[in-house]
């Protein structure tokens, strides 16, 4: 019987999902940090 190579499929999807998750969290974290910093400036007397 021919091997199905599902391990390679799982590895490929894992790489893609981890990379996209990294890009999304990086963008969101940066957005939150900048918003907080700008709010601190606006709140300052």
């Amino acid at each position: 019987m021919r091997p199905d190579h599902l391990d390679f499929v799982v590895a490929a999807y894992a790489v893609a999902i981890i990379t996209v998750a990294f890009m999304v969290t990086r963008t969101l974290r940066q957005s939150r940090r900048l918003r907080r910093a700008l709010e601190r400036f606006q709140d300052a007397p």
Partner: protein, 249 residues
């Protein structure tokens, strides 16, 4: 485009667009993953055909994002659009990310299908060069303190690197490569059966919307970053003016 040159207008419009784009992206990925999970195994590739549904959209995006960066570079150098350099800077890490996905998933498909993770084939090598150009643009942005000089330098590097795009596209026609030739956008129409073509189309659309969503968010971040930097400098200057001459502020 001219209206969007005003960062405040851009921020307002993008804030309105982002929830819709995010929702649409999630919905399309949900449909795409469901379709991918239900496609039959290929008669030759078996289950590994499922890798194609992430590899191909990532590879398309790798080139598409570089195209966006090339337009933004022209916007910076020729039209001096105020948001062009922000768009270029915001796109570079996303382009690098999608190119990495294309290279890694292609390699994981190559091992069971070709018997090797990597060959110095024209298509693979030209995409690796694209990845290195993305990293070069990112490194150049970070290495220069003067942001307007960095924007011009990165725009020139991006335009020089754009020569790699036609090489990637036509590498499979110009040279004998292990990588298969185009099978979707051909003169005779798609060579792929609809059972694979539809899920691929949905996944490609979802990935493109994901890029657009992240790109808009990253451009907004860049605008906020510049505002913050300007406010910090103004505050520092005001502190200097208030402190007595010669005394530390």
């Amino acid at each position: 485009m001219l209206k969007l040159a005003n960062p405040t207008v851009f921020l307002r419009l993008s804030a309105r667009l982002l929830p819709w784009l995010t929702g649409l992206t999630i919905a399309l990925f949900a449909i795409g993953f469901w379709l991918v999970a239900n496609v039959p195994p290929d008669y030759q590739q078996g289950e590994t055909v499922r890798i194609m549904f992430i590899h191909v959209p990532a590879a398309w995006l790798a080139s598409f994002i570089y195209g966006v960066m090339t337009l933004a570079a022209l916007g910076t150098l020729v039209w001096r659009h105020p948001l062009a350099d922000a768009a270029q800077k915001a796109a570079a890490p996303l382009g690098a990310g999608f190119t990495f996905i294309a290279l890694a998933t292609g390699s994981l498909w190559g091992r069971p299908m070709w018997g090797t993770y990597w060959v110095w084939d024209a298509r693979l090598t030209s995409v690796l060069v694209l990845f290195l150009i993305y990293l070069g643009v990112l490194a150049l942005w970070r290495s220069l303190d003067d942001q307007s000089f960095a924007a011009r330098a990165c725009a020139i590097l991006t335009l020089v690197g754009a020569v790699d795009l036609p090489i990637i596209k036509f590498s499979v026609d110009w040279w004998n490569t292990l990588h298969q030739p185009a099978s979707v956008f051909t003169m005779e129409g798609p060579k792929m059966p609809p059972v694979y073509l539809w899920p691929l189309g949905i996944m490609a659309l979802a990935a493109t919307l994901l890029f657009l969503t992240l790109h808009l968010m990253a451009i907004r971040n860049e605008i906020f970053e510049r505002r913050l930097s300007r406010l910090t400098m103004e505050a520092a200057a005001a502190g200097d003016r208030l402190s007595p001459a010669g005394a530390p502020a």
